[in-house]
């Protein structure tokens, strides 16, 4: 099989690579390791009620202990969404002796785009400039101005709802109308702004549409907030709802599912990759050839493929392949009771929370023990029957209490910038193989004093803000969950100016191999404290455009 381009992976960035490359006229092969999931036809639990499920949505705990020991720790993992997560027993990985790392994965057509959190935040130059400023990691060879137009393109296409706030640390974008704040959030936003003008609580910018795109078969959000089951309305961005139909429409896309890419084929004479080797559904080894290859297998799996493609790793003349992996340090910074809103309620399920963007270490270095940012996501909500879990009592009065909405509470979850460190890295454990006989990935990862300091400050300031708004703080934490908790694992093939110290150049293109591009989370040189997927998409579209130009000019 010969193609112009091969895209490895079909998730958030694989879909974008396929769309951009096919729309430019290239014949593209997309290879997905998991099974096919068809839009609208294969979202098997989408319309199920809790009483339709054997375990009422909570799932079989015995089964999860055995087969989903890691995935079950994901907040989005339920009996309804289980089909969109991997079986851990069948997809093992290793961790270093002192490492706790929960690797949440979705091996299927659409990858994690089906189950993602949908939060879409632009990076600013505080983020692209972070490494240059404090000396951690290596400087990004790009700045906001290089990406801004690509953010525009991605936001417009995928559909992002949100409010423009004019913040330099969180640039505005091409937004559909925002979803509203509830009564408590509106109050907290105002109280925070009064006391701390530099802190802004705004509704989460989310890839859930408030306006449909009928020409693309996408309806606006129905406010179910059951997104991770799959959405037949196409109201949130996924590969299935958005990029895949666009790529298919060109007639230039071929998709193979159930095919695990083992390695890239490399020709040392020409210093080019010639294609990929993969194991098909019948466990047969196959090859496909193309003029360029885009790796979009998900940060850690793209690194796995490169490490497995040559002794010492392919595209690794710098020796940095697999190093400087990151994940946001993440914890519940504060939860508070919010009295005074007993006559207010809401209707529907808003599929996003609120965000308080970074406000520390911007023009003044005012972080305590850390040099980067933290931000909060969360929201205010009313209790329902689950408050009975904390309530003594039985009988008629107890049932009557649970019949009505309970008190309002508000939560703020902190996300701290993760410093890139050489010691946080991926390697292959050649003594341990998976069902395909491929070496397992080994993760060595630990947060450092910067992340702990940021979360300590986040805890104190979350409590301070909720208290100032009249809340009664009932809990808060300053210790991050295990690495992987934020599901923002990234890095391992970092972008940089210098081929001696980085894997990719400013076009997400290998310094060593001109026709190889890595445009998923692996390319990240720093983490910021925003959800990263929007930036991955923008960088993918940008890299695809660059690659097509280089092909046309005969440079690759």
């Amino acid at each position: 099989m010969d193609f112009d381009a091969i895209v490895v992976g079909s998730g958030i960035t694989g879909g974008w690579a396929a769309k951009e490359l096919t729309e430019a006229g290239l014949k593209v092969l997309m290879i997905e390791r998991g099974r096919e999931i068809r839009h609208q036809q294969d979202y098997t639990t989408e319309m199920k009620m809790p009483w339709d499920m054997p375990f009422r949505g909570h799932g079989d705990s015995d089964l999860y202990d055995r087969d989903y020991a890691v995935q079950r720790l994901n907040r989005h993992f339920t009996e309804f969404t289980q089909p969109h997560f991997v079986n851990d027993a069948q997809n093992p990985y290793q961790t270093g002796e002192d490492t706790r790392f929960t690797w949440f994965r979705s091996y299927q057509l659409g990858g994690r785009s089906l189950a993602w959190g949908r939060q879409c935040y632009r990076w600013s130059d505080y983020d692209f400039g972070a490494n240059a400023r404090d000396g951690h990691g290596t400087d990004w060879p790009i700045r906001y101005a290089d990406v801004a137009l690509w953010y525009d393109k991605v936001e417009s296409f995928i559909g992002v709802s949100g409010a423009k706030e004019g913040l330099k640390q969180l640039p505005d974008g091409q937004f559909q109308p925002p979803m509203g704040l509830n009564a408590v959030e509106t109050h907290v936003r105002a109280e925070i702004a009064k006391r701390w003008p530099e802190r802004c609580l705004t509704v989460g910018r989310t890839a859930n549409m408030t306006e449909g795109k009928p020409d693309e078969g996408r309806a606006p959000c129905q406010y179910r907030s059951l997104c991770a089951r799959g959405c037949s309305y196409g109201a949130y961005f996924s590969t299935q709802s958005s990029t895949l139909p666009a790529a298919m429409k060109t007639g230039n896309l071929t998709v193979i599912t159930d095919a695990v890419v083992e390695a890239l084929d490399y020709d040392p004479a020409t210093k080019r990759v010639t294609g990929v080797r993969y194991i098909d559904a019948q466990k047969q080894c196959q090859t496909a050839r193309a003029r360029i290859v885009f790796l979009n297998a998900g940060a850690f799996n793209s690194v796995h493929i490169l490490l497995n493609s040559a002794p010492g790793g392919l595209a690794n003349s710098s020796g940095t392949l697999g190093t400087h992996i990151m994940d946001h340090a993440n914890t519940l910074s504060a939860a508070a009771l919010m009295p005074g809103f007993e006559t207010h309620t809401s209707f529907g399920n808003r599929p996003t929370g609120v965000v308080i963007p970074r406000y520390r270490n911007m023009d003044q270095m005012d972080g305590i023990g850390h040099t980067r940012g933290f931000s909060f996501q969360g929201g205010a909500l009313q209790s329902t029957w689950t408050q009975g879990n904390r309530m003594a009592g039985i009988g008629a009065d107890y049932k009557e209490k649970l019949r009505h909405p309970g008190p309002w509470r508000m939560v703020l979850v902190g996300f701290a910038d993760c410093v890139p460190r050489a010691t946080n890295r991926l390697t292959l454990d050649r003594n341990k193989t998976d069902a395909n006989g491929l070496p397992q990935l080994k993760v060595d990862f630990a947060f450092g004093k910067e992340e702990h300091a940021a979360l300590a400050q986040a805890k104190a300031e979350a409590a301070e803000m909720l208290t100032a708004a009249g809340g009664k703080v009932i809990m808060g934490f300053d210790q991050p969950g295990p690495g992987g908790t934020a599901i923002h694992e990234m890095g391992g093939a970092r972008m940089g100016y210098d081929p001696k110290t980085s894997v990719l150049n400013q076009w997400s293109q290998s310094h060593d191999i001109a026709n190889l591009f890595v445009t998923d989370g692996a390319q990240m040189s720093s983490s910021a404290c925003q959800n990263p997927s929007l930036t991955y998409m923008a960088l993918t579209a940008r890299a695809a455009h660059a690659a097509v130009g280089m092909l046309r000019e005969g440079r690759i």
């Binding site: 009620m49 129905q222 808003r350």
Partner: protein
């Protein structure tokens, strides 16, 4: 097969069958399904926690069987202790034969001890959580006692809440974090 009149009754029947199939290990073909010996106790205890009001109680809608299924599969961290046997011995062998007022008092006392932090009463907390889960995710508890809207179709961020308004079992944020 019993004759099924309405689609809803049929659905409840099928759900009941699914539960029964899951609860009772299917032995050799043709073997009779053996009812779980704790089913009457769990049915009654569920009904005491959530009794009939204008809507049916928890025991009436099969929550006893759900709790046994859930215990059998270790939900709510119940692995390692036979919670049903513990409940039977804690409430005493004659519990079911006692008059309603005594059954209520005995269970209320156990509940109070558990919420007061008595370690000996702690397994009750998981059983109670499973009763609540079983009831408020049943069609009756979730959509008759409370309100359930699968496709709201709109987001109204601020509406007046009037006394007597029923909560939504389909408010997923509230279920998760409330």
């Amino acid at each position: 097969m019993p004759k099924i009149e309405s689609p809803m009754a049929r659905r409840e029947f099928m759900a009941g069958m699914a539960l029964l199939m899951a609860v009772a290990p299917v032995a050799a073909a043709g073997a009779k399904l053996v009812p779980n010996p704790y089913q009457p106790l769990l049915r009654e205890v569920a009904q005491l926690v959530i009794p009939r009001s204008t809507t049916p109680g928890a025991g009436e809608v099969g929550v006893g069987a759900f709790v046994l299924l859930a215990l059998d599969h270790g939900l709510e961290g119940t692995k390692g202790l036979d919670h049903a046997a513990w409940l039977k011995s804690t409430l005493g062998a004659g519990f079911l034969a006692q008059p309603l007022a005594k059954r209520q008092a005995a269970l209320a006392a156990l509940d109070a001890r558990a919420f007061a932090g008595d370690a000996a009463a702690k397994p009750w907390l998981a059983i109670k959580r499973l009763i609540l889960l079983g009831y408020y995710t049943s069609e009756t508890g979730g959509s008759k006692e409370l309100q359930y809207v699968h496709v709201p179709g709109r987001w109204d961020p601020d509406l007046p809440l009037k006394p007597g308004d029923r909560a939504f079992s389909s408010d997923w944020s509230a279920v998760d974090f409330g």
